[in-house]
Amino acid sequence: MSAVDLTQFHKTFFEESQEGLDAMESALLALDSGSTDTELVHTIFRSAHSIKGGAATFGFVDVAAFTHVAESLLEEVRSGRRPVEPPLVDVLLRSVDCLRVMLRRSSAGQPVADAESEELRAELASLVSGQDEGVQPPPAESVSTSAGWRIDFAALPHLLQTGNDPLRLFRELQQLGQLDVIRAFIVDGAPATLAEVDPTLCYLGWELHLQGAASRSDLDAVFDWLDGDCVLEIHPLSTGGSAETENVSSSSPVATDPSRRDASPPGIVKVATDIPAAVRETPIAPAEGSSIRVDIDKIDALINMMGELVITQSMLSEIGENFQQSQLEVLREGLVQLERNTRELQESVMRIRMLPIASIFNRFPRLVRDLERKLGKQVKLELQGEHTELDKTVLEKIGDPLVHLVRNAIDHGLESPSRRKAVGKSETGTLKLNAYHEGSNIVVQISDDGAGLNRDAITAKALQNGLISSGQELSDAEVADLIFQPGFSTAAQATDLSGRGVGMDVVRRNVRDLGGSVSVRSVSGKGSTFTIALPLTLAIVDGLVTAVGGERYIVPLISIVESLRLKASDVRKVAGGGEVFHFRDAYLPIMRLHRSFACHEAVMDIERGIVVVVEEDGRRVGLLVDDLLGQQQAVVKSLEAHYRRVQGISGATILSDGSVALIVDVGGVVHMGRQSKAA
């Protein structure tokens, strides 16, 4: 019975519990939309049961106690004693939210139970055992009682062999209140002589009194793991314990203050409970040392790749040891093979970090359901491309912007059923989420069939905020771009969805931080589509290597529209010293990269250089470089970590010849271009 450090399993428990809660939520939503699949109820029950078991094992008593009550309620559903009705789904969904918060607090080592969770637990307890139907014991049986509990507990012989120890159990009970052993006895059927005793069997029984505010579910959580290993009876104590007691809690510190549970008034949390869970949820910061679950196939592919690489390496070593000119062709073949192996190995390694976007998309059915009810709208959610894989880091950071866009689409985009009916649309609006690969990018689209962007309202608001001047003619793209400006909101009335200090500007900034871009296309009366383009991974960028003076700069391929050679006559000088050129019905500013980055001996004559047209958030500029050297995948190294932040540069990489090349931050460069144009 050596002591095992259970804390090493905590992380796995939290991860699995979160997955269990996700499964519960999905199943509850399916039930909510009318599914009668009994397997859904089993799924919910199993998830709750696993969380309860794990929480009890690892000593997260509050989580175990809460889940126990929820599980009892689910057991009634599972056994067909309680029908699945919307109020029940509601309370169970709220329980899922509550458990998420409790688990997050547990993992952070914070106090777990609060007034909100206790209130919800009491609500669950009042539903359990048909107490609302008056069939089962009175509420005092399940909720806290000030008098305490009488516990008759007799071990079954095999109890110790299961790893349970009453000593440990009693210590846990002590945490719940004052524990008095009224009687300890040897159970009937125990061997009469010491010689017959098997020391691994248990022959003891106890009558205990536990005084304090512990609830029945607190006790159940303690005894949960003894199911089938003991005979147990628990009854409420009407008065204080008997005089003939052996008080065991007097000398022991009681860690839990029983009064704490009911300490704060429940009214405070009401405001928070009105806000949909997915909205209220604080972003889950990528925890330090966060882990990733990898499909075994991916690991196998990696091992295969490694094997191939070893074979190639040994082949090359053999050639190298006794090289003859005649083997040149074999050497070349070997090098080609090495290059292929390296590329495949790189792809395999990168695939390990890739996770399906479903983990983010799965949040939305719940969010949509909550918003529908809150805003009185009818929304049909369509999800596509959930299996599209995305780098874990990108995935963690894209969740909040997507939630914001979905919320905006329902709050501002989709009209109310009556309004939709009036304009001849179906009363139920459609919200589509789609994810797909496009080159080395992932594109996520959020489209609705709502009213579209209100051009008049946007320009009026922009005028009011001084973002544009009166009489300024704006293209549709420019109007759409205005909504990404800081502090921009046209919502006539601030709901608790808007006015959270998070706007479209934050969405754009978050997406940009990931090296991606966001744009919007809107047709009045038909709806809007927000498109987010993200790099597959943050670690590697597909880039065009360009020469500027003696330096090499890498321009991310995602941003490049076209490269072209200009004639001097194509370039127009504008006031302030800027240069522009005509490109597809628009004039684009020219940015001489050698000037921006102070490179010497660069090509100054625009006819000898090459202009690379890049685009960021719908704005284009032409970058003048000396030459294009080729396309290359660059492993991004942080410049900030090794040197300092440089405007217009997002990082550095090492080229095949060992020299360092800087990676152009197109967003930053476009911004610099606009600044210089304004100057």
Partner: protein, 118 residues
């Protein structure tokens, strides 16, 4: 563990003079530091052997780790002694032993000295 456990037998005519003389045989048992499940079988044999004596003096001063199995064994040992007409005395009770017995409500049953609870 077995090396640390000692069973001593003394008789009334032992001339040591250090211990109070008893009309019957008296046995002292030193309980090991770790008295948990793994040591139960050996401990049971030791106690069975000791139960032959009229008075058994248990030294629990060095006990550091206890579990329910061990405290149960002591309880059954005392019952065995009483059935045989013998008696149990304590010579040293460690804090761990006293705390474990108190938690399971066995202090009186094991006849542990009251001071052990302090």
């Amino acid at each position: 563990m077995a090396g640390r456990r000692a069973v001593k037998r003394r008789s009334a005519n032992t001339a040591s003079g250090e211990e109070r003389a008893s009309p019957e045989a008296e046995t002292a048992v030193l309980l090991p530091a770790d008295c948990r499940m793994a040591s139960q079988t050996a401990l049971k044999e030791t106690l069975l052997q000791a139960a032959e004596a009229q008075i058994v003096v248990l030294n629990g001063g060095e006990v550091e780790r206890v579990d329910t199995a061990f405290l149960q064994l002591l309880m059954l040992f005392r019952r065995e002694l009483e059935t045989r007409g013998g008696s149990l005395k304590w010579h040293g009770v460690s804090e761990a032993l006293a705390e474990g017995a108190a938690l399971l409500g066995l202090t009186r049953i094991l006849d542990l000295p009251a001071a052990a609870l302090a």
